[in-house]
């Protein structure tokens, strides 16, 4: 019954915004407790390798640092895109990454912006602040043709899916290492089709929150 209700919800959400003639996908991501999971990245890639789409124009995206928080938590990049870190706080921030895809370190004074950093390699680049432990952001570099992030309601919407076979992957920064299915197969038979998928992810706690509420005072 839950499934049925969820399905009707997906239809309700997807139906009005779906453009005519193009298939759509609604993905609902929840954790093992059934809670909606935001900030999950859903990538949909055709199984056939041949249908490579032309690369879009490289873009530069800004990761702001405000109230000792990286904003946004997750940003999706295409290979060749650039990232700029901006410090909107009154404190210094020391953004760093040890990720194999890209390693860097910037110490940004208040109001300062870093130089644009081009991200060429695919992968996830976790960026932290060496001064503020709870600050973390993820730069998700992917070449998948369809990418979407789940919102607060735990739903990610994808559209304009052509007919064909797809791999649908879900990723989340708090994914428990070595746990859970994060890939599902999707078949679009009709261009007007609206599909619904569900990912249940096993997640670790949000690293941005202090682990112990009792010690949150400082």
């Amino acid at each position: 019954m839950r499934w049925f209700r969820f399905a009707t919800a997906v239809v309700y959400i997807c139906a009005p915004s779906a453009p005519a003639g193009a298939a759509g996908l609604g993905v609902r991501i929840s954790d093992t407790r059934g809670n909606a999971v935001s900030d999950a990245v859903i990538t949909v890639a055709p199984q056939a390798a041949g249908s490579v789409q032309p690369a879009p124009t490289p873009a530069t995206r800004v990761i702001d640092q405000k109230n000792e928080t990286f904003i946004p938590y997750i940003e999706v990049f295409r290979p060749g895109d650039k990232v700029v870190f901006h410090n909107s706080d009154n404190t210094r921030h020391h953004a760093y990454s040890f990720a194999p895809a890209r390693q860097f370190e910037f110490v940004l004074a208040p109001g300062e912006s870093s130089t644009a950093l081009q991200l060429d390699k695919l992968g996830v680049i976790a960026v932290g602040c060496n001064i503020h432990d709870q600050m973390i952001t993820y730069l998700y570099v992917t070449d998948a043709p369809h990418v979407a992030r789940s919102g607060e309601d735990g739903i990610a919407q994808l559209s304009n899916l052509a007919k064909g076979e797809y791999d649908v992957r879900a990723w989340h920064p708090q994914l428990r290492p070595g746990a859970g299915v994060d890939s599902q197969r999707l078949t679009i038979a009709d261009a007007t089709e609206l599909k619904g998928l569900t990912f249940t992810l096993s997640l670790l706690p949000d690293p941005r929150l202090p682990p112990d509420r009792e010690r949150a005072g400082y």
Binding site: Y96, F98, G128, R176, G178, L204, P207, D212
Partner: protein, 781 residues
Amino acid sequence: MSFRLRLAVFLVASLAILQSVTAVLVYEVTRRQVVAEGKRQLAIAGTTFARRLDDVSARVSDNVQVLTLDFALRSAIAQRDRDTVRSALRNHGRRIGAARMLLIGLDGTIDADTQEVSPPERKFPFTDLVEGALEKPTAALVAWDDQVFWIVVVPVHAPALIGLIAASIPVDEVFLQREQEQSVLPKTTELALQNSNGNWVVVARANAGSGLAGQLLAEKPEYPEKPALIEAAGREYVALATPLHTSRESRPIVAVLGYSLDEALQPYRSVAVTWAVLLAFGLVAGLLGSVLIARGVSRPIEALAATARRIASGDYRPAPPIAQAGEVGELAAALTNMAEAISEREEHIRFQNAHDNATGLMTRVAAEAAIQQMIDVESGSGGSLLMVALARLPEITKTLGHAISDRLMRDAATRIRGPAGAALVARASDSEFLVWMRQAGQGDAIALSFRLLDVLGEPYREADLAIDVAPAVGIALHPLHGTQASALLQRAEVALFAALGADEPVAVYDPGADPHRPERLSLMSELREAIDRRQLQMHYQPKLNLATGAIDGVEGLVRWQHPKLGLIGPDMFIPLAEETGNIRRLTRWVLATCIAQAHAWDLRNRRFRFAINLSARDLDDPDLPHRVGELLAIHAVTPRQILLEITESAVMGKPDAAIRVLRQLADLGIDLAIDDFGVGQSSFAYLRRLPVRELKIDKSFLLRLAMGAEDRTIVRSIVELGHRLGYRVTAEGVTDQTSLDYLGEIGCDHAQGFFISRALPPDAFDAFLAASPWHRENLLT
């Protein structure tokens, strides 16, 4: 057991038992309380210990977390710089007191290890800790290589989760001791883990050598979940095995917490000592108290017992006053009453005992005591004891009865009292009175005696009876006849006896005439021994045959050679022998000796007729003829050689039995002679019945034969009469030639006397015979 002792034992025993029961109860209650307290404390301690471990883990994980934030370390980890990571871990491990630090990859493999192990472990064994640490730091006890560790696993973010750091802190004795110092753990704490065989192994103990865990967990994988009372190494504990929070992958670990009862009871020990001292004091006080109380009870009882003993011995003074009401006081009063009652009754009995019922006079016993007392008091001054007998009283009693003799005695007593005056009058026996005159001599005594005879001579009159009592008086004088009352009584009695037989019924004691002198008594007993010890001798007095002028007979006369008194004549001891019943022995001895002598002389061709005296008592012996016959046969002596002499008085009035004995003797062929003929109550009629062959004229006739014509006539008459009746006649006591000649003239058959010879022992007799003009050989046929 005396009352005092029993009471003391009872009181002390009850006190001791009560105290012991109390002590046991108190001990049990205290112990139970201590055990309960121990259980409670252990339960708290178990929880506290677990909580304490959580605190430790929080501290350690904080420390480790701080470490994970170290940028250099994070960078080294992210860049997989293993050596740097290891050295950094070691450095930080020292800081937080960890024995081992590990870097664990997200897949659970060990990426770096501060401890060199070979072969290097690939997988971190406690996956649950890793699992949990992905979200937040985890901590748990683990059993690792048979040691217990506290492992804290902390995630490392750089900034994403890139691995985990595990810090392993040994939970060992040092750890336990440190915890103990902070008063978290009881003194006795042990950690034990279950090894792969399922056995429990003690890995750490805070209190060395208690052996508690070994005891509690012995031989079984299970352990009691509640505090238990156990004994280890001779001490008692309340012990609790608390399972500790361990990693899922670890073997179980328990903390064994011990609560020492001995230590817990320690404070009570001083209480126990105090109590014991108090008990000892209590016992002593109880003992003393009970002895005092018992003495209060038993003292008067002992006093009363002493009084009772005193009463038993005749002291009737009242019991000592006892200042005690109640039973003891009543007893004392009863004892006093009893003593008085006994005293009165005794007085009564004593009076009755000392006085004669019939006359109201003192009894002899009482009078004797009274006289003795007077003699003792008035020593030196004289006194006279009169024994007054009414000789006819026995006869009167037998004839008229006791009642009249009692009245007669009462009357006599009244009569005696008149003349007696102040003298003591008592009843001496059924028929006798005694009168004690103090300071009175013989004259006074005799005077009083006659006055008494006068008053008693008047016949007693009752109704139409006039009874003559035949009074007699015996007198004994003090101190002439004795200094003791008993002696005086006896002597007076003897004198009275003499007076009874005399014309004048008053006699004063005459020591010479007293047949009851004490020395006679000793002779009596000595006579028996004399026969046995050959102190007796036979002497022989020759009898001259006046017809032939030759000695043809002898009279055997016995002599007693007394070792102290010298020679004693037969007159002295024969009556004694008769009285004491020794006469038969004596006669037998005399017969045997004479017959043996006859035989001896026979052998030397000297044949005599032996005259042997028999006592009247011998005639009562029916064996006598048989004995004599035997003796004659033994010594081959003919019966004719024996002449047995008996006195007239011996045969007069004798029963037929005695006469039968004489006849039997005569039948043997033995001649019999009547001795001392002429002075007794001679009865020829009686004599005729006896087989008598000879008469011996009493020597009293012979003594005056030479002078008096009367005696001559008597002697001649006896000789003639004897001859006519067919008797031989022998004259005794011939003292001169004239008498002898005269006897020859009148035809007397034999003569005997000092003039011929006195009695001689056998040897002297031989000598006499040899020199004698009357000697002839074998004249007797």
